[in-house]
């Protein structure tokens, strides 16, 4: 930090941010791991000789590295690696799509509440407070129990329980930015409220929004694994990292590898997104970072 303050050469904001990000080795590692997981899930299944739902009852419970099954087979003789890759598609997509929806709703609610303030803002933010009173897993499971489980429902429900935190961040940002000169100037120019909100205020709050989005993916992947593990998320025969662990407890003594691979995949993905979020916070918004 000291050298940066002393140097006379001014860096462009983007360049400075990239320098700070590069220094955060764990965030870089996280980005690489995410890339590997995404590419592996996207293209891996084409390279494997096994289909993720192909049942081979004669070869059930084959331990890892036995023959062609690198990660072994499960209780129905399905290839664990193939299921891990197909499960990765599901889990990572849910993480990203749920994040996008949660961000959209959270930004919209937060921007409206922060911009208009007053009764509208107070009502919206009290609603956010109220929903946050419900422990996420309880709310998610209760809603999942009322609906038909599946890919779309699970994604929507996770988004429904994740937007409040975003709304809080955006509301605080917009409320403070609203008073700044550029916002007042836009108002004097005769820009519409909507334009000021989404073209002036929200873009200026982009740093905390990007950080929240990254951390949100981590949270969504984790939540998917919880609901699917408990049986209310992605339903078999489709694989997800969460539902692969569904039966793992029963076979823990005889086939522990069934529990290891999906658990490591979830932990890797979530840790990577969390570190990436940490690195982005240091890079984009140095004031907010934990020392």
């Amino acid at each position: 930090m000291a050298t940066a303050a002393l140097s006379t050469v001014q860096l462009a904001p983007g360049q400075a941010a990239w320098r700070r990000f590069r220094r955060h080795r764990l965030a870089l590692a996280g980005a690489v791991i995410i890339l590997v997981l995404v590419l592996g899930s996207a293209f891996g299944p084409y390279l494997l000789p096994f289909d993720d739902t192909y049942i081979d009852i004669m070869k059930r419970f084959a331990p890892p590295l036995s023959g062609a099954h690198i990660l072994g087979t499960d209780e129905l003789g399905r290839d664990v690696l193939a299921r891990l890759m197909m499960g990765g598609r599901v889990s990572l997509s849910i993480g990203i799509v749920a994040m996008v929806i949660a961000m959209a709703v959270g930004i919209a609610v937060g921007a409206f509440a922060g911009f208009y303030g007053g009764v509208v803002g107070a009502v919206l933010m009290r609603l956010v407070d109220a929903v946050l009173c419900f422990p996420t897993i309880f709310l998610l499971l209760a809603l999942a129990a009322l609906t038909e489980p599946g890919l779309v429902t699970t994604t929507m429900l996770i988004a429904a329980t994740a937007w409040m935190a975003v709304a809080r961040v955006v509301e605080a940002q917009v409320r403070s930015l609203r008073e700044r000169e550029f916002a007042v100037a836009a108002l004097a120019f005769g820009s519409s409220n909507l334009r000021i909100m989404f073209r002036e205020l929200v873009p200026n709050a982009i740093a905390p929004i990007v950080v929240a989005a990254t951390l949100n993916v981590a949270k969504a992947i984790l939540l998917e694994s919880y609901v699917s593990y408990l049986g209310y998320g992605i339903q078999p025969p489709a694989a997800s990292w969460g539902n692969m662990l569904n039966n793992a407890q029963i076979y823990l003594t005889s086939a522990p590898w069934l529990a290891i691979a999906p658990g490591v995949a979830i932990t890797l993905a979530v840790t990577s997104f969390n570190f990436l979020g940490d690195g982005l916070r240091d890079a984009l918004d140095p004031r907010m970072s934990i020392p």
């Binding site: 419900f134 309880f138 709310l139």
Partner: protein, 316 residues
Amino acid sequence: MARYVVNRLAQAIMLLVIVSGIGFAILHLAPGGPLSQFAASAQMTQEDLDRVTRQLGLDRPLPIQYLDWFGRMLKGDWGRSYRDGEAVLSVISSHLGATLELMATATIIAVLLGCWIGILGALRRYSLFDTLATVGAMIALSIPTFWFGLVTIYLFSVKLGWLPAGNRQTVGDGSFLDLLHHLIAPAMVLALVETAMWGRFMRSSMLEVINQDYIRTARAKGMPEWRILTVHALRNALLPMITVAGLQFPTLLGGALVAETVFTWPGMGRLFLDSIGYRDYPVVMGILMFSATMVLIGSLLADIFYAVVDPRIRVG
């Protein structure tokens, strides 16, 4: 002070009303609404359904139904379980003890361990210990609780045989040692995430305090370092942790649900999941409302307690 408490109390009551509104809405979203239990039965005719609807007052306007429902909730009439007809509140309270036991144990472990790690990390900032603790905390926050539970069972129950793989006690036994033996693994699993959170908050709180002027003044006076740490730094750094305790509560409850499921612990979380499996909506709704109310009261108490120990809060 009284004004602050009254203000905060009014806020909490307003929140409780909104929370109950959300709960009521979810109840009516259930397939078949509050009548789902009857609608599922093949012997029920449409006339029977209409009669039950009238009897239960479900033909009245929704706002009136809501007021009625909310009034009965306040009086402690939370409906009856579809499964055995037992009152919802007594079903919940019979499972509450096990959950509280688990949560309290995990919290004690997490507070002691987390604060110790956080303080040490702040005092030796950027040391090897601090780096390992920071990275470790991030990984701990990323591990799915249920998977950590599975790994714990595999290591300590299957491989080493040291700890039981679940349940609260051995059938026929129930001695203190037996209960403790069963408590270790689930409490450890639940404590992991909590320890990481407490450690992170404690570290940043301590870092903030040790750079304050009064610490420098104490040092300039020639006060011994241990006294600066315990009397001046620690006391001030621990204050914000009261808020953390309040903030952590929903996560703790959610974690308890997962830990209870993995370790077949007979608590509220496991009851919740079983009730979902049986489509026992009154119990599901009851636990949902009960946990939200607990969270509300928890954050209210944390705020009031914080205002008691830190007078600056009352003004703001």
